[in-house]
């Protein structure tokens, strides 16, 4: 390759001294690893995928909560907000995923095959299905709002039910996607990562709806409904996350120890989960909460949801770089 001609034949000629990896010595080999070099590789995913994980949760969560509200609350404002949230969150999702591909022009290759054991394949199909049903549900909602009366309510209800499996899958498959790899941090808590992401999707969706309906001046009863749902979701999220960390033990350190732990504990757990839980459960018990508190709590919960996905990806990269963690996982 012609570009290699510019590479100096020997780094020392450039005046560079060999300091690379100098903390890794032959004694690492003695201790049973190979110069501390990584065994497995992490995926290349960064901000595009992290942001998609966040929007996907809202797209799936918005649809699920909209369907629940449709059949159990008859709260039209809540149904409307959930439908719009789902559509608004699904619109940026495919572009984010396509831009992350090494060959974006080949994104349709995802849909040339169905592989039941590949979360990436299942997720691509689930997102496609959810786009269809969320589009129908939100489209009918737009028509209803424009005409001032319900448009094709039966079709809307059918779409709300048929879209549920896809929506539920989009809510949580991102956790499964990470779990079905060889990255110790993700793989070791296989059966808890998907559930954690699902609970996080519920909590961030409820927070987003509380934010939207708070700003647009929804009913007080709606606020209470969301506070109740939020309390349940955040409790589940926090519990599942802690169970996952307990399962991980030492392998959880890339997430819980500095440097990422310095973001994880105060932000993701403290501000993103514990604080909303305290405020929400207070509201459920009948404590008055100002609009300002409600908006701030919602924003905190949303940022917690984003930071959970962000840190899980970045900590996974660190985890993959630790051969000792992978050896521990594969030692049996």
């Amino acid at each position: 390759m012609s570009d290699r001609a510019t590479t100096p034949a020997h780094p020392a000629e450039n005046g560079e001294l060999i300091t690379h990896n100098s903390q890794r010595t032959t004694s690492d080999a003695v201790q049973g690893s190979y110069y501390g070099l990584p065994v497995v590789k992490a995926p290349h995913w960064r901000w595009l995928v992290i942001t998609y994980f966040f929007f996907g949760a809202l797209a799936g969560g918005g649809f699920v909560v909209g369907t629940i509200a449709e059949f159990f609350s008859h709260d039209r404002a809540l149904v409307r907000a959930a439908r719009y949230l789902s559509l608004a969150a699904i619109l940026p999702s495919p572009p984010l995923l396509i831009l992350d591909l090494g060959r974006p022009e080949r994104f349709l290759n995802m849909l040339r095959i169905v592989k039941l054991r590949s979360p990436m394949s299942l997720g691509s199909w689930a997102l496609t299905g959810l786009s269809l049903f969320s589009g129908i549900a939100a489209g009918l909602q737009i028509l209803s709002d424009l005409r001032g009366r319900p448009t094709m309510p039966l079709l809307s209800r059918i779409a709300a039910i048929l879209g549920m499996p896809f929506a539920i899958f989009v809510c949580g498959y991102t956790g499964v996607l990470l779990a079905i790899t060889n990255v110790p941090l993700w793989a070791r808590s296989t059966y808890l990562l998907g559930p954690t992401f699902v609970a996080s999707a519920f909590s961030s969706t409820v927070a987003a709806l509380s934010l939207i309906l708070g700003i647009t001046g929804g009913e007080e009863k709606t606020g209470l409904r969301l506070a109740r749902a939020g309390t349940v979701a955040v409790t589940a999220e926090l519990t599942l996350l802690m169970l996952g960390l307990a399962r991980l033990g030492k392998l959880g350190r890339p997430l819980t120890a500095p440097p990422l732990g310095l973001i994880f504990w105060p932000w993701t757990v403290g501000l993103g989960m514990v604080t909303p839980l305290i405020v929400l459960s207070g509201a459920v018990r009948g404590k008055q909460w100002s609009l300002r508190t409600r908006i701030l709590t919602s924003l905190l919960a949303l940022s917690g949801s984003y930071s959970l996905r962000m840190l899980m990806i970045f900590a996974g990269r660190k985890s993959a770089e630790r051969p000792e963690d992978y050896f521990e996982m594969t030692d049996r």
């Binding site: 390759m1 570009d3 100096p8 780094p11 300091t19 690379h20 990896n21 100098s22 003695v30 690893s33 190979y34 110069y35 070099l37 990584p38 065994v39 497995v40 590789k41 992490a42 995926p43 290349h44 995913w45 629940i68 509200a69 159990f72 591909l101 090494g102 060959r103 080949r106 290759n109 995802m110 095959i113 592989k115 054991r117 590949s118 979360p119 990436m120 691509s124 539920i168 899958f169 949580g172 498959y173 996607l177 079905i180 790899t181 060889n182 793989a187 059966y191 998907g194 559930p195 699902v198 519920f202 109740r228 749902a229 349940v232 589940a236 993959a320 051969p323 050896f327 594969t330 030692d331």
Partner: protein
């Protein structure tokens, strides 16, 4: 596009081709690395000295499909005593049940008529999911440098040479026959004889790439097996890796169960007023 997904186990398939890499014969000449790069027209990796080892290649990657490891293990006698060299030419294992193949959402990664695992370059869209799915860290995306094409790459077991009845370039170039190419069934028999031989000579040799060591765990047997002389971690190989996709069903079920429970709880929260 013809996809041949053969589910026949390596060990019983008469058409399965593979490698046996006998590390007791490896002299660390890196002829395999060079032959691989030349035949497959792979560009030179960034030249960067490791500093504490002769292993400046360091890892398998998108443009490195053979990688010779150099582990130095102080032997008896302590400091100043004899140092044992553990050299091994690492390569894609062409697993019987391959994590990369199962993860691939486009069907770009296929099982060939030789029972090898190959990435179809005209199908791969560079999603990168095969990369963490490999239990041995073999597959990599080519996303850096001027040769970057955004696609996943790894050893093809010289699919083009095999199609023409030639052996892979690395095996052809290996001057000590540390790398042997052949039918997997024959290679396994040969490996067993060689392991017995080495043990008779007092070496702690064993075969890496079956249920006992290196594979199993849903992966089955490896198409590329190794005769090792020390703990597999010394060669940066996992002792008992597993196939991630064996957990997909359980993980999806746990996720769906949680979602259903939360749906019920949310319905309750909305209804109660």
């Amino acid at each position: 596009m013809t996809e041949t997904i053969t589910l026949t186990p390596h060990s019983s398939s008469p058409t399965a081709k593979g490698f046996l890499t006998d590390t007791s014969l490896c002299i660390g000449c890196k002829a395999c690395e060079v032959a691989c790069k030349q035949w497959n027209q792979l560009p030179l990796d960034d030249l960067d000295w490791f500093g504490t080892s002769y292993d400046n290649t360091r890892k398998l990657g998108a443009t490195t499909w053979r990688h010779v490891t150099f582990a130095e293990v102080p032997g008896a006698g302590g400091a100043g005593g004899q140092t044992n060299w553990l050299m091994m030419s690492d390569v894609c294992k062409h697993c019987q049940h391959a994590g990369c193949l199962e993860a691939c959402p486009t069907g770009a990664i296929i099982r060939t008529e030789f029972n090898t695992v190959v990435i179809q370059q005209d199908v791969c869209n560079g999603c990168g999911y095969c990369v963490p799915a490999c239990p041995y860290g073999v597959v990599d995306l080519n996303v850096e440098g001027s040769a970057a094409d955004g696609k996943a790459h790894k050893c093809t077991l010289c699919y083009d040479r095999l199609s023409d009845g030639l052996e892979p370039a690395c095996a052809k170039a290996c001057p000590t026959d540390s790398i042997i190419f052949g039918d997997v069934i024959e290679l396994q028999e040969r490996a067993e004889r060689r392991v017995d031989d080495l043990r008779d000579k007092g070496l702690p040799a064993y075969l890496y790439g079956n249920e006992e060591a290196g594979a199993g765990g849903g992966i089955g047997n490896l198409g590329a097996q190794f005769i090792l002389l020390d703990d597999s971690a010394r060669y940066n190989l996992p002792a008992h890796p597993s196939l991630p996709q064996d957990r997909t069903f359980g993980a999806v079920a746990a996720m769906a169960a949680t979602a259903l429970a939360l749906t019920a709880a949310t319905a309750w929260a909305f209804k109660k007023s």
